[in-house]
Symmetry: none
Subunit: 257 residues, 2 copies
DNA sequence: AGGTTTTCTCAGGGAAATCACAGGTTCGCG
DNA sequence: CGCGAACCTGTGATTTCCCTGAGAAAACCT
């Protein structure tokens, strides 16, 4: 399989001018992702976010279209809503699998339909997220799926490093200067977003859009609050790495000592 | 006969980018497995899981197809349901054996089925699991069959080690710091899954999908329960190795002393 | 059949995480 | 130097998630 898949994805990484690492196919062309959901607002939201990752996106609104698109688009990964109008999710999956047996799938499921037989979906190395999701979560899981389906050194790939701060996306471990730091789920996602965009100012609106679920209706100052939490854990008593740009947002960068 | 098999499989192991050990054929190509079952949901489930192991899979839905596939696909192992629509399991087996005399077979049987007849069949080094099975079990037994049919050092292959914790897949022996630990079947499979993915956060859904039978319809908190059991036996009074990542899952890693 | 082990459900307790709110602090700018 | 806007953070309510004891049911073993 290894050798076979090398020909298919064999994603390699390169570092973009912005300093973000990207997944690329062996020939240097962008990774392709097919998004399948009947709600257009969702496909648009996802398409935007995933394009921002530098990936090439095609979307479909039903099972028929999904199978058709899969056949000609030949994506490297698929995002598949389990609730489609024309066929049930599992039969779509079956047909997709017949077209592209090795492509990893990220399932979208309703939170309340949790017991709605998600059984077996993650068994083959696939993954799922529940609606409403945060974009960071979807992107992170997709990256994981694509990474694992290809021939990339996972260790270097799953590890984000900014200065003496490291974040491992697989073990969820965070260290600064060698010391382990415990973060909650939300803190972890916020830090991951910051670290995936080092030295770049991210507005509170951007952060809210990426790190919190798309249906979050709360106060905008949660971002401030969580930045505060992060500082307490990461910058406590050290050279600060998280900086405020008043009126603009926040950014993370290596401490200049 | 041994030497004959060496020529056929002579599996070697290599460590994949993920850090998991994989079985490979001598020429470096992936191991091939033929899956034979009339229920398509079963073949798909198995194909997904076995592909994830890095193996190359072909499936057939009846005896005819099985024999045909075996002839051209020349698998290194076969998963064979004993209840097929067109022929009875034994004659399928006979024909497969005529094509590929040395290929090990993993039988799938109904729980209540004739244990004695199967027992006779497995005398030749084959093995069987009863439906409904867990994927961990199928994968483990297949790995065992393939390993034993080839020329691989069994000892190094069947022993999982994480820190001072060891788990022998052949003898089912588990030790921590040299002390033997008795585990029930479910506890053993859970621990094996954790240990085959050390330092990696595994969600409760992933664990359910791999360790419990595919038809398990119960409460998702069995996972919590069995984690609790495992901790009592493995971490009791020592530096804990099983960790909870709230909102994400569980992971095992060597105790940092 | 009777005892033992294993698996699993259920429910309560408790800890952790999330978030709203509000008062305090800092910064930029006139 | 003083004001307002933007930001920071302590407190505590609420929710979510996890752990585990108790016991029923099933499997297993004589």
């Amino acid at each position: 399989m290894l050798s076979e898949r090398v020909g298919i994805v064999a994603a390699m990484t390169t570092t973009s001018p912005q300093g973000r690492t990207e997944l690329l196919r062996p020939d240097g062309s962008p990774v392709r992702v097919l998004v399948v959901d009947d709600e257009q607002s969702i496909t648009e939201l996802l398409s935007m976010a995933l394009r921002y990752e530098g990936w090439q996106i095609r979307s479909a609104g039903d099972g028929q279209g999904a199978v058709r698109s899969a056949r000609e688009f030949r994506p490297d990964a698929i995002v598949l809503d389990m609730m489609l109008p024309d066929m049930d999710g599992l039969s779509v999956l079956g047909r997709l699998r017949r077209e592209l047996p090795d492509v990893p799938v990220l399932f979208l499921t309703a939170k309340d339909a949790v017991e709605d037989r998600i059984a077996g979906l993650t068994a083959g190395g696939d993954d799922y997220v529940t609606k409403p999701f945060s974009l960071e979560e979807v992107v992170a899981r997709l990256r994981g799926l694509i990474r694992r389906s290809g021939a990339v050194d996972r260790r270097s790939e799953s590890l984000l490093v900014v200065g003496d701060l490291t974040l491992d996306e697989d073990s969820h471990e965070v260290t600064r200067g060698g010391d382990g730091i415990h973060l909650t789920a939300t803190e972890f996602e916020l830090l991951r977003f910051l670290m995936r965009n080092p030295r770049r100012v991210l507005s509170k609106a951007q952060i809210l859009d990426r790190v919190w679920s798309y249906d979050f209706g709360g106060q905008a100052n949660v971002v401030e609050l969580y930045i505060s939490y992060l500082r307490r854990k990461i910058d406590a008593g050290r050279e600060p790495m998280i900086h405020t740009r008043r009126g603009a947002g926040y950014l993370i960068k290596p401490a200049v000592v």
